[in-house]
Symmetry: C2
Subunit: 388 residues, 2 copies
């Protein structure tokens, strides 16, 4: 296997981009990543693009070709991968695997979603495509409703409180306030979260990640190329992906995302690290309860202790493990296909020491955790300044 | 690189499956492939599934997870890839690359599309997602219209005739009449094709591939596993993919699919074969003109001579190169995501000598050619009974 590094990263601001199209966003992020890597478009040998639901959001499939075309990269292979909300993480993993396996030396992994061009009801229906259409969505379940079931069960089993969930929103909004690319750059108070309108009891508006437009791209390179183009390559030490049942009702447990547990363990094994070695983790907080499950499933705390740990500030910026220093999906927004790549960009910027006001001191090892649906897919990557 | 072989193959009948769902079709094909490979589900390490537009056709995205779940394969990684009508070929290529690169030893590549559960107008709109939504579809272009432009230009530049295109339909319907899995198992005459109703001048109803439900799956394995499980592995000698502009109007030529030329050359180079070494080619005949372009772009005949060669029977069953012995998209039907995998299955059955009444005598080397849209993506694979 070839060693693989990230040598360039770029993203659009996340938010409501009324004046920019899907391809505008994609091209902006791609161009920034290529410039950051200091390569030319001609150096790129393949592209993997993650997008969840461009067919339903903008009427366009064939997104791989659209990316290559819009960015003037023809005739290289360009492929869309889709694993719902984990599409970005999967695109990164496919790019990583292609280089590690010796097929290419420079590959771009990108992610993009344009969600505001359809009515929110349509976007919501499209997002439902990440759950089980026949056994969940058809019967009226929405994503907030499914995660509300997880939250309610977590409260029942472990005594997790609504305030502990709200604390995740407070932390991530604070981090997002320090991130120039975040959709929401403002602090919220515990009281504001607790008094925000109910979406699906016990989840309130400020427990939920929003509808967002955005794109993100990174340039991956083999070791020989990385050292040639780049003074500070960020190495990929581990890459793992796992699946679980599509519908929640088929799971052994509602509160453990088995795919996260398995992908997390496997990625850490590859990287030769333990949960306590991780300094920074970008985890999939589509809802506040999802971050609580994630810190447990990834082994940062014991099962059931996530809510208390959040309450105690254990995952605040520059605490033991800084979780979602970017602001997470909660404050950055969640342009579905772009999220997994944005997580990688945050890891890269933090490890380079270029994360500005939200810089985590002495960050050496970072983890990204991207979930599809309610956990039917999980993709975990581990990054370091030093190759192993 | 590890050598890679196909050790199992299975598909549903292609046609209108009113009584079967997307997941029924998928599971049926997957089960047949696994049984054919004589492995158990526990041996499978990863899945790549090709589907173009499940979001718009059945309201379901997250198809990778759906496949793993429906087939009881959790928690292995399972990923959907989408390159429009080349989604199946791309899924095969990703599976091939993952094994060749040493990441896995046994991977399933599948393809599926369920197209009859929506009105034909909706299916047609969804298929439009393979073309350029902003610059073609929005202005009213449909796929028959786009291929009609190609056909008209081919007629203008090279004197290709409507009868020569019709001859492709006659040949492929004859081959399809010998294929128990084809949607249309009947011969058509030149007169029937010529007098069928106009769809987009000069293309008539019988120049077009139909709307189809179906699924197909193959099991790929590394050399060490292939020899253990299988007496007659079919080796993958070449795998290539290329991209071109999404919209026709951006091309240098309307009659050459540059992506086919590039992917074809690269795959043949990897395999160490020339066009004349190919005995069997499954090419992407979504319209009859597409087969004429393909035999030219793949180098089987000089540019512009495809129509005449079809007229002369050069690509008939058991002629020099048997093109579309399965019946092609034209007679087998075109369940979009499944088509690229079905092409591989035909290559495998022919090389094993298990193709029944449509068996090509002494077949040694086969090529598959899967196109997305009007050629913004092309994926070419080359197979042989003997590894190189």
């Amino acid at each position: 296997m070839q060693k693989v590094a990230v040598i360039g990263a770029g993203q659009t601001k996340f938010g409501e981009h009324w004046e920019k199209s899907f391809r505008d966003l994609m091209a902006e992020a791609g161009k920034k990543a290529i410039e950051d890597a200091n390569i030319s478009g001609n150096d790129i040998q393949a592209v993997y693009g993650g997008t969840m639901s461009a067919g339903r959001m903008i009427g366009q499939e064939h997104i791989g070709a659209l990316i290559a075309d819009s960015m003037g990269l023809n005739p290289i292979p360009s492929t869309r991968v889709e694993n719902a909300c984990a599409s970005g993480g999967t695109a990164f993993r496919e790019a990583y695997m292609a280089i590690a396996g010796g097929h290419y030396d420079i590959v771009v992994a990108g992610g993009v979603e344009k969600m505001t061009d359809v009515f929110t009801s349509q976007a919501s229906l499209a997002l439902g495509g990440a759950a089980d259409q026949e056994w969940e969505v058809f019967f009226g379940a929405t994503f907030p409703a499914l995660y509300a079931l997880i939250a309610r069960r977590h409260m029942h089993e472990y005594g997790t409180t609504e305030e502990q969930m709200a604390r995740v929103a407070v932390k991530n909004h604070h981090n997002g306030s320090l991130n120039p690319n975040a959709q929401y750059r403002r602090d919220v108070t515990l009281e504001q979260v607790m008094s925000s309108s109910k979406v699906a009891d016990p989840l309130k508006l400020l427990d939920c990640s929003p509808i967002t437009d955005g794109a993100a791209a990174v340039v991956l390179a083999s070791e020989k190329i990385a050292r040639k183009y780049c003074d500070d390559p960020i190495w990929v030490l581990g890459s793992a992906q796992a699946s679980d049942t599509l519908a929640l009702h088929d799971r052994e447990s509602l509160t453990t995302l088995k795919s996260s547990v398995i992908a997390g363990r496997e990625a850490m094994k590859q990287a030769g690290v333990k949960p306590t070695d991780i300094n920074i983790a970008e985890v999939h907080d589509c809802f506040t309860i999802a971050e609580i499950c994630a810190v447990e499933d990834l082994g940062f705390v014991e099962k059931g202790k996530g809510g208390k740990a959040e309450e105690d500030g254990m995952f605040d910026l520059n605490s033991n493990i800084s979780v979602n220093p970017s602001g997470g999906l909660k404050a950055c927004g969640h342009p579905v296909g772009a999220t997994g790549i944005k997580q990688v960009i945050e890891a890269v910027e933090q490890l380079r020491g270029e994360a500005g006001k939200r810089q985590v001191d002495g960050a050496e090892t970072a983890l990204t955790h991207n979930v599809g649906g309610t956990g039917a897919t999980a993709v975990v990557h581990i990054f370091s300044k030093e190759g192993n």
